[in-house]
Symmetry: C2
Subunit: 214 residues, 2 copies
């Protein structure tokens, strides 16, 4: 039941000259709210967002190239807190190894707490991903990945790890991502204790890298 019967006309007052950018913020806010409340990208249609903002669908295109552009912009903004979250979690320990583990655990937890955002940013096929989110550009811009590399470098300099920081970071990323995405995609699977699983999944490779370097 959407009860859009009388096709309620747009209610938002037109912005002043030069204040057109305000609509952009409102659109992103409405889209973010829709995405969170429904927990489903499918629900975030151009039309639904326009309705929520009180504007007509074509107005969205004044600020976003297309639907994916909007969706990814919303997720990118949401994930600005992502890096902060990881940094704070990893700072709870002075030990580079333990800190790395805490970072990984925070990664998985953040993903599980924001499954739809995570899915969009990390699990969307390239064909549906706006250009500026594809390839190296996006990853490199993501502070979180840079910080992971630095965390690995600290382990290397401390003598705990040995090898190429980028390669090791990619490995660790894939481990954390594997569990995160599996838990997101198959939540109804009878998983054993998830916290324990996360713990083991992340500590195992870390300890392996540690022993390898000796």
């Amino acid at each position: 039941m959407k009860s859009r019967l009388p096709a309620s006309p747009p209610r938002r007052p037109r912005a002043r000259r030069g204040e057109g950018e305000k609509l952009r913020d409102d659109i992103m806010e409405a889209a973010e709210e829709l995405l969170i409340s429904t927990g489903s990208v499918e629900a975030v249609s151009i039309r639904a967002v326009a309705d929520a903002v009180g504007v007509t669908p074509p107005s969205i295109y004044m600020h976003f190239a297309d639907k994916n552009d909007l969706i990814f912009a919303v997720c990118e903004k949401h994930f600005q807190k992502f890096d902060e979250f990881l940094e704070e979690a990893s700072s709870a320990s002075e030990d580079p190894l333990e800190s790395l583990f805490l970072r990984g655990r925070a990664y998985v937890r953040f993903g599980l707490q924001n499954p739809e955002h995570y899915r969009i940013l990390f699990m969307t096929k390239p064909a549906l991903t706006p250009e500026r989110f594809q390839d190296e550009g996006m990853i490199a811009r993501m502070a979180a990945f840079q910080h992971l590399i630095e965390a690995v470098e600290r382990c290397i300099k401390g003598g705990a790890f040995d090898g190429d920081p980028l390669e090791l970071s990619l490995l660790l990323w894939s481990y954390a991502h594997g569990l995160t995405s599996l838990l997101i995609s198959k939540p109804d699977f009878p998983w054993p204790d998830i916290d324990r699983l996360i713990d083991r999944a992340l500590r195992l490779p870390i300890s392996a890298l540690q022993k390898e370097s000796t």
Copy 2:
């Protein structure tokens, strides 16, 4: 360019009495062909499949509950070869540990060779997944997962591993899945040598489990 101008009428001759099931096969075949040739689920629309088969869209619903039901059925069939592929790869070594590694490597490779099918089966959100593919049912029915557990059990019995076969299997699955899904979702990332990455990603946890048990 779809040049469907004259709205070409269905060409498929009506099936005989009791031979209605033949249409089901034809639909799956057409859908599979579309999925493979385009490499995109989005291209596999009910209408496109109906066109390819030479039938009208509603006819699809005589054999499939909805679009997702069809898509998943296609992927499930395709993945029947999956288990065989893993079994054959893992049989190349007598050593349980090496065999386990070979199995994992085959897993990743199969995923990379069939990215769209892999994405659908393992990366689709539950809300879009037909019931019979959700939860324990699907995984348990998947011979591949059972065989993984058995492979892990062989490692345990051989004294190489220690722990719960199910838990260890889930860990190993998540490792293999992590790399597979990341490579599928971010193919434009400047990955270092992929074969080497797969090798390291899989050997690392295996060797860690091995050392852990001593």
